[in-house]
């Protein structure tokens, strides 16, 4: 009986907590329960959620990608540079960013697989390198339409309407102009990665690599190729996040995106606890991101000061990790 209760708690505890949270805020904070508020929550978690889905893929193969935040801000600066200074059209700017993300992911993968640099260190180094690199072309300045260039001329380009549409368009759902484009993209990527990891043989082999890479290699899995692919997925999703951020802000702001890395890693790790699977999974990651968003939105509506936000996120993360690792080990350990 006790075992079954524990099992139930591990499996559904987090989802029940999430529902409880929604019910509580709906009662306590007028205006929390409604389409506008929901769209706001989704909007606030869309970009971190996209990054978190990428990092989930690297967690699945037993790796970790610390460079996602820096990839996103690099994509943000690159898109601004490409459109404002080089005056590229939207598709070129977007392709450049995606290509940059894939390339960074590839380099991360090669560093880890071929040069045997431990994943945390390789991606930490890459993070540092990108943070520095994105400042060099503009001498450390943010990029905005009409800015003064180093040679004294004025930047002629602007963010095109099509590009800004990616970040700012709102679809009419229930009420006019409700659902923002980034949310749609977040949901699409979540579904894609959920299908890929959960239902394709590639996903299954990636989980096998994360669980026992040696055994996976001995059944003929090209382990290195899958690992590199995981980092490339992570790089591409991070660059998508950066593009959406640039499109929302409408300028290449050097200071934005500081919190992206921590927030998205937190979402992926909280995802371990969802459904009690104790391993990275796309559904859990999306719910994890949503959980943090709902909690912050509710607290803000109940007038909690903004500077408590990081503390709350941290507390949720620690609780989720204890939930995942302690309770799950109790469950498997009950036989002994």
């Amino acid at each position: 009986m006790n075992d079954r209760l524990l099992d139930f708690a591990i499996r559904y505890g987090f989802l029940i907590l999430l529902i409880g949270l929604i019910v509580y805020f709906s009662l306590a904070a007028p205006g929390f329960f409604g389409p506008l508020s929901a769209a706001f929550v989704l909007q606030s978690v869309a970009i971190t959620g996209i990054l978190a889905l990428g990092v989930t893929c690297t967690l699945v193969v037993g790796g970790f990608d610390l460079s996602i935040g820096a990839v996103a801000t690099s994509a943000l600066m690159l898109s601004a540079y490409s459109m404002v200074i080089l005056e590229h059209p939207t598709p070129v700017a977007v392709m450049l960013c995606l290509g940059m993300g894939a390339l960074v992911g590839f380099i991360n993968g090669v560093l880890i697989v071929k040069f045997r640099v431990p994943d945390l260190l390789a991606t930490l180094g890459m993070m540092f390198l990108l943070i520095g690199l994105q400042r060099i072309p503009t001498q450390g300045n943010s990029i905005a339409a009409g800015m003064m260039l180093p040679d004294g001329s004025v930047a002629e380009g602007t963010f095109s309407a099509a590009f800004l549409w990616l970040g700012r368009h709102r679809f009419d759902v229930v009420i006019d102009r409700l659902l923002p484009m980034p949310v749609v993209i977040f949901v699409a990527i979540a579904v894609l990665i959920w299908l890929f990891l959960g239902f394709t043989r590639h996903g299954r082999l990636m989980y096998a690599i994360g669980s026992n890479a040696r055994a996976a290699a001995l059944v003929g899995t090209p382990v290195n190729r899958y690992k590199i692919a995981a980092y490339m997925i992570s790089g591409v999703t991070a660059s998508i996040g950066g593009i959406l951020l640039a499109a929302r802000l409408g300028r290449g702001d050097i200071a934005s995106g500081n919190n992206l890395l921590l927030d998205s890693v937190a979402a992926a790790l909280i995802g371990f606890a969802v459904l009690g699977v104790a391993r990275p999974n796309a559904f859990g990651t999306a719910i994890g991101a949503l959980f943090v968003g709902i909690l912050l939105q509710g607290m803000t509506m109940m007038n909690a000061p903004y500077y408590t936000q990081d503390f709350v996120k941290g507390a949720v993360l620690v609780a989720a990790l204890v939930f995942t690792f302690y309770l799950s080990s109790r469950r498997t350990g009950t036989g002994h």
């Binding site: 590639h202 096998a208 055994a215």
Partner: protein
């Protein structure tokens, strides 16, 4: 000899309904080496674990130098003077520290040691310990840079620093070369002279000949023979170890039809004796040999993990030189590796996912897995091999060792192989599962050639049509599994015969 060091009386131990130790009586005397022999699963390791405090006995008594000995845990056993050096060497040393620090580690743990490490004092003490044990290595070298034998010596030296009454060595030579083993034996001789009672677990005949004063043989959880007459009767000991079990399983020997796998002058290592071998369709060939005999190397070469130094491999008459494991599998060569825990089991997966892992491509449309078909194929194998589980959705870690191994074997029987390689398929497997696996391997043998790599003779006798003995990278003997001359087989394995150019066809 003045009294017994350790006396074990009527010891019993069960795991669940599995009686692992039944009424064990064992006596160890100071200044003498007792060799404990037994096949896999005979209960040697369990006995050692009870003596060194890992497990509590269910019944029976132990006395140490006359007083009752009931260790509560491993640390307690060590404090009372029973020290064990386990099979896995790296449990006994800290690889990233240097030799001196490793030798003195136990004194660093001591509460009375003080806060700061007195470097010079520590090195002087370490030098004393090393000299006393006859260890001749640079004390400043990192242990991870040392040869396996040196690491082994250091683990033993650490054990000896606690001045034990009883020293237990669990297969200490299993990863040592012949010359390295000689140094270990010299050390053991010295310890014997110091009056330590030594229990030495091994089934390497050459070791046993070299150091045994007494031989105790275990079989199926009981003592099946004690040999202490001078000279020791080794043949009788081997017979006691193998017992009558080999006659329990009758192998209807097949000589196979056409040759499938042919090795032509294959050199496993540079400068090794070239080997020639032909394995036929429907035939089960056992390759036996001690660790370091080259059989693992041969398996790795055939499975595309390493390349041979020289020579050719042919499968069904066409050349075969796999570039990778993927390539080998694509060409119909499958291998179930040894040590399933490290090399085969995916702990996060259920039975169906574990079993079907190599062949997911055939079980998917596009890239999407057909979960139902995957489960039904796994279900089929569960049925055929008699895997005990509630459903194929059970986690692999809920299964017993034997059933896990069945899943690992079933993995490679899902699709037809040309050449099936099984490296130690009976490792950590109980007798029942071993029979099931052996039966199924033989029943499914036609249509492929099967090579089984084994360290245990009795396992080879139950399974193979033909037994090929390897030693130092060469084939040194070949025996059809019919009216087999056991003594000659054991002699081949223990390397009593000089190595000629090995040829077996």
């Amino acid at each position: 000899m003045a009294g017994d060091a350790l006396k074990v009386n009527g010891l019993q131990k069960s795991f669940g309904k599995n009686h692992v130790l039944r009424q064990i009586d064992l006596t160890l005397s100071p200044g003498s080496v007792t060799v404990l022999m037994g096949a896999n699963g005979a209960g040697k390791s369990t006995l050692v674990k009870v003596i060194c405090g890992h497990h509590r006995a269910d019944g029976g008594t132990m006395t140490l130098a006359g007083s009752a000995f009931e260790p509560t845990d491993a640390a307690d056993a060590i404090r009372k003077g029973v020290v064990t050096v386990h099979q896995s060497i790296d449990d006994g040393v800290i690889p990233d520290l240097d030799v001196a620090n490793n030798l003195m580690l136990d004194s660093l743990v001591d509460r009375g040691h003080g806060l700061f490490v007195r470097e010079r004092h520590l090195r002087a003490e370490a030098a004393k310990v090393a000299a006393a044990m006859g260890i001749d290595v640079n004390l400043r070298a990192r242990v991870s840079d040392l040869a396996v034998a040196d690491r082994q010596m250091i683990a033993i030296a650490r054990a000896m620093a606690r001045a034990p009454k009883v020293l237990i060595l669990d297969e200490p030579t299993s990863s040592l070369s012949a010359t390295e083993a000689d140094r270990l034996f010299a050390l053991i001789d010295r310890l014997r002279d110091q009056g330590v009672a030594i229990l030495y677990i091994s089934h390497r005949m050459s070791d046993i000949r070299r150091i045994a004063d007494r031989i105790v043989v275990m079989r199926d959880g009981a003592i099946s023979g004690v040999f202490d007459t001078d000279p020791l009767d080794y043949e009788a000991a081997v017979t006691a170890m193998l017992g009558h079990r080999m006659t329990d399983v009758d192998v209807a020997v097949q000589s196979g039809t056409k040759p499938v796998l042919e090795l032509h002058d294959l050199q496993l290592f540079p400068n090794a004796t070239p080997i020639n071998l032909a394995a036929h369709d429907g035939e089960v060939v056992a390759l036996v040999g001690l660790l370091g005999s080259g059989k693992s190397r041969l398996a790795e070469i055939l499975f595309g993990i390493t390349r041979p130094a020289q020579g050719q491999i042919r499968i069904n008459g066409t050349g075969y030189a796999p570039r990778s494991v993927e390539d080998a599998i694509a060409q119909g060569v499958f291998m179930s590796p040894k040590d399933r825990g490290t090399n085969a089991v995916i702990p996060a997966f259920d039975i169906a996912d574990n079993m079907t892992l190599p062949f997911l491509q055939g079980l998917s449309i596009g890239s999407f897995l057909r979960a139902r078909q995957q489960r039904s194929r796994a279900q089929e194998m569960v049925h055929q091999l008699g895997i005990v589980c509630q459903s194929v959705g059970d986690g692999i870690d809920t299964l017993s060792g034997g059933n896990q191994q069945k899943v690992m074997i079933a993995r490679w029987l899902l699709e037809p192989a040309k050449v099936l390689l099984l490296d130690e398929p009976f490792q950590g497997v109980d007798i029942g599962a071993r029979r099931d696996i052996g039966h199924h391997i033989r029943a499914s043998a036609p249509g492929r050639t099967t090579l089984v790599f084994l360290a245990e003779i009795d396992e080879a006798l139950e399974l193979a049509d033909r037994i090929i003995v390897m030693n130092e990278g060469a084939i040194v003997g070949e025996h059809a599994n019919q009216n087999i001359d056991l003594a000659a087989l054991v002699a081949d394995i223990s390397g009593a015969k000089p190595i000629a150019t090995g040829t077996a066809t």
